[in-house]
């Protein structure tokens, strides 16, 4: 038989039983669509999260007090380490050739009030460098002044939410805020930004690091953000940080340095594994569709027993019959896969309309894999019915009317 004829007669056989064929198509399409939608969700989340980290600046090194081998997870809390990371440590890092700039960070929370309105707000103590290291934008006024980091200047920069809640429609710039038992003048307002890796930059007050140390009466730093001069010198910079701290801490290397890269890589791995796992679960539905194809094809072989016997009597070789039925199964799964791709991409489009915040990315490999798996299961589960058709005894097949 010519390949064109095989395709033609398989297509005709599919068209002859619209009910049966559309059932198979729907099962296959749902499986393929599930694979596409789930991998799209997984992949989009992965790209979103790694993108968030990349937005922090790819040359970023995070210095935590305390020795820890982990590259992710919660940093050790203050007080766990025998020796604090101090402002002087941070300033010493600043002098390294390999480090562009350093932002010491202390965090705490304190009541913030203005004219009788009071809120408990997270306070970050840092220096002017924080703005460029964390890519913060100012909509009004200016950021912390670049004065000596150890000077406790009474100024603050507030987030959008703090401004709204405390000042409402009143102009906040230049007003004196009370934070704990001290007063700070508002010199800048952050641009709206929302959550960024656990920190809500809208509900925050940033004050000079020395002021924060005085406010919380704690000399230790929560962490130090350091930006390496270039991406290539990240490892050298990390090593140098260890050296400098060791020299200053009586020979003890008691800090942990996390590179931005390693955090991204870890998240990347976890989320990729998650995507694959979810896609695997979806692929099970494809296998179910494959079994459905097998059942329906077996029924089809029984129903067409007389026709198969006739084809044999007309001189059809067993191989030809096998090929005919496999082509039919293959065509059905390809059509189903095509339908599933449309259904899946349509669902992704709908989801994108409903959740514009998460940019949806459908990986090309998922499309390819979904179609390949559906074709594979179709053929795999088509083998048994096709073999049954090829092995029919023509005399018995014909005598059954």
């Amino acid at each position: 038989m010519l390949p064109g004829d095989i395709l033609h007669s398989s297509a005709k056989a599919i068209g002859a039983q619209p009910m049966r064929s559309s059932l198979i198509l729907i099962a296959m399409a749902i499986g393929v669509a599930a694979v596409i939608v789930l991998t799209t969700l997984g992949e989009s989340t992965r790209q979103y999260i790694t993108g968030e980290f990349a937005a922090l600046g790819s040359n970023l090194l995070i210095v935590l007090p305390g020795r820890s081998e982990t590259t992710g997870g919660q940093p050790p809390l203050l007080g766990e380490t025998p020796r604090d990371l101090t402002l002087d440590d941070a300033l010493a890092l600043q002098r390294s050739r390999r480090i562009e700039q350093v932002a010491p960070i202390t965090v705490g929370s304190a009541p913030v009030s203005w004219r009788g309105l009071e809120r408990e707000v997270s306070i970050i103590g840092s220096t002017a460098s924080l703005k460029s290291i964390r890519h913060l934008d100012i909509v009004q006024g200016r950021f912390l002044p670049a004065t000596a980091p150890d000077r406790a200047v009474p100024v603050c920069v507030i987030g959008q939410k703090v401004r709204e809640e405390l000042f409402g429609k009143v102009r906040a710039l230049g007003q004196w805020l009370r934070i704990g038992d001290r007063r700070f003048r508002v010199i800048g307002i952050l641009a709206p930004r929302g959550q960024s890796i656990g920190v809500d930059f809208d509900d925050i007050v940033i004050i000079p690091v020395a002021s924060a140390q005085a406010l919380f009466d704690a000399p230790g730093l929560f962490r130090v953000l350091a930006e390496a001069k270039s991406w290539d010198s990240m490892l050298a910079a990390a090593a140098e940080i260890h050296q400098i701290i060791q020299a200053r801490h009586e020979g003890e290397d008691d800090v942990t340095v996390i590179t931005q890269d390693s955090v991204i890589a870890t998240f990347d791995r976890i989320l990729l594994a998650l995507t694959l796992a979810v896609a695997g679960i979806a692929a099970i539905s494809l296998a179910v569709a494959g079994i459905l194809i097998m059942n329906v094809m077996l029924v089809s072989v029984s129903q067409r027993t007389a026709e198969i016997g006739l084809l044999k009597a007309l001189g059809a070789e067993p191989g030809q019959l096998r090929l005919l039925f496999l082509t039919e199964a293959g065509l059905l799964s390809l059509l189903g896969a095509g339908l599933g791709v449309c259904l899946g991409l349509g669902t992704v489009w709908l989801l994108q309309r409903m959740y514009p915040a998460l940019p949806m990315v459908t990986p090309a490999w998922a499309l390819f894999a979904a179609v390949a798996i559906s074709l594979g299961t179709g053929l795999l589960f088509g083998v048994l019915p096709a073999g049954k058709a090829a092995g029919l005894d023509p005399v018995q097949a014909l005598s059954r009317r």
């Binding site: 038989m1 006739l310 009597a313 007309l314 001189g315 067993p318 030809q320 005399v395």
Partner: protein, 230 residues
């Protein structure tokens, strides 16, 4: 003396029915020459259909040898059997056995499709056959839109489209009214006149009597082999 098309030697075909062995064909020796017109008659269960299936290569003997056109076809693989069947044998069934979803023309075309004949040549051959069997205005109709006689003509067209040397018919008029039956027999006989070997299985003596050679079977044996004179 013309050449031998079919030669059966000591053919045995045994079926197991329950715990009993039934000799559907018991030690059959038969030789049929090219262009012969043979009828096979006998009561139900006499083995005449089994004989026809065996000649058609749809069934295999348990013992004995079968030569078709001088070639031993007793021990061929399924694949080779299909090829020999396709090229040498046309089969007409009592119940027509047309494929219901295909048009008359497509049914006639089927053996050519299975043989891998290129489409251009195929449509020419099919057009000729449709012309020859008087089906011109019925070519696009499906079997359920045809009368019994028309269906059997489509079946004969299909059986002869590969120009086989042997045409086998199993009760070809069994499902037709008398007029259509006569028409079909005339058609088969006309084909026989062109040199095709024709073997018809029937239990209708009037029909069987028209053949130049009449075989009578009982209990798996040929009990009479009668050559009509003239």
């Amino acid at each position: 003396m013309s050449e031998e098309v079919i030669r059966l030697e000591a053919i045995q075909r045994v079926f197991q029915v329950g715990d009993q062995m039934v000799h559907a064909l018991n030690d059959i020796d038969l030789a049929i020459e090219a262009g012969e017109y043979v009828s096979v008659m006998g009561p139900s269960g006499s083995g005449k259909s089994t004989l026809l299936n065996l000649i058609a290569l749809l069934d295999q003997p348990n013992a004995g040898r079968y030569r078709l056109n001088g070639k031993d076809v007793t021990e061929l693989s399924d694949r080779e059997l299909a090829k020999v069947r396709r090229e040498n044998i046309g089969f007409v069934f009592q119940f027509f056995h047309l494929i219901p979803r295909l048009s008359a023309a497509e049914n006639i075309e089927m053996p050519l499709v299975l043989a891998g004949v290129p489409p251009a040549r195929r449509s020419r051959l099919v057009a000729e056959a449709i012309q020859a069997f008087g089906l011109v205005d019925r070519a696009r109709h499906r079997p359920d839109q045809l009368s019994g006689g028309q269906r059997q003509r489509v079946a004969i067209g299909r059986a002869t489209i590969m120009q086989p040397s042997v045409l086998l018919a199993d009760e070809p008029t069994g499902n037709l009214d008398r007029a259509s039956g006569v028409e079909i027999i005339d058609l088969l006989e006309a084909l026989n006149d062109t040199g095709v070997t024709l073997i018809i299985v029937t239990h209708d003596p009037a029909l069987g009597g028209r053949a130049g050679r009449r075989l009578e079977m009982i209990d798996g044996r040929i009990i009479r082999d009668h050559h009509a004179s003239g």
